[in-house]
Amino acid sequence: MTKVKAVAAAKYGVVIVPAVVWFMLFGVSLADAVFTYQRWRPIGQHIVDWTRNYPIWLFLVAGLFGAMVGHFFTKPPP
């Protein structure tokens, strides 16, 4: 695949990437709402309990997310 074709193929990527992020958020939010309505333990409660039990992993996950934001959006100009 040439560079020009790679750029042309990116038109599908710029649709798929936000769609995946959006539907992950939507799915988790919908599941949390259903769990709360059914009085089951919501996903957020499971994750909060996990972060209480494994604080070092909490720092690693938070650091990974911060590094991703910095990597994506703060590239210095050439």
Partner: protein, 207 residues
Amino acid sequence: MSSPPSTPRPAEATLRLKWLILAAALFGLLTVGTLVVGFFVFPPPATPCSVTVYNEPFSRGLVHPLIFIFVAIAAAVAGRLFNNPSSGPIGGRKPHLIVGSPKSEPGAAPPAKPPAPTSRLAQVADVLSAVWVQFSIWLFLLIAVIGLVYETWGVGHNNDPWPITFLVRCINNSASIQTVIVTGIVSFVIGSWLLFRDDKGKSGGRG
């Protein structure tokens, strides 16, 4: 032997949650329909963003990069405050609306432990909840692995095809406002989960 009394569910909260679920479902259907119709009726252009002479996307859009950092931090803090309200209508007076660990009021009696499931249906519901959480974790990790494999493949082949980093920068170049909004939403959710408040009122981890 009588079963332990269960806390009655307030009618107002039940009605609110029903509307919330209905609104979320309708919003999801609208999103799916918009994506499908938009993709086939109005396909994206061949070059969705500005590229450099090396056929790489420009890394900046309308929004300054430092604003992304500020929005991410502010949204994470807002998520933490939302999930651990100290007072107000979402706080201790209506703990059934809290998604997370409810905080007891000062001087109040410690919250009673939830009654153990007595009926077969309640036991099945508890198991189903745990299975759903495990399935969600598996699905999240599967998507993360697929993304990492694709990223590695793209970087290992001289950015051909574009790695996810390039795709995100391309999206930021062509739609900066939307990108910073989604970044704030994701940071809000992560902040509400990770920046918890423990029983002594301290935030953050202990390690």
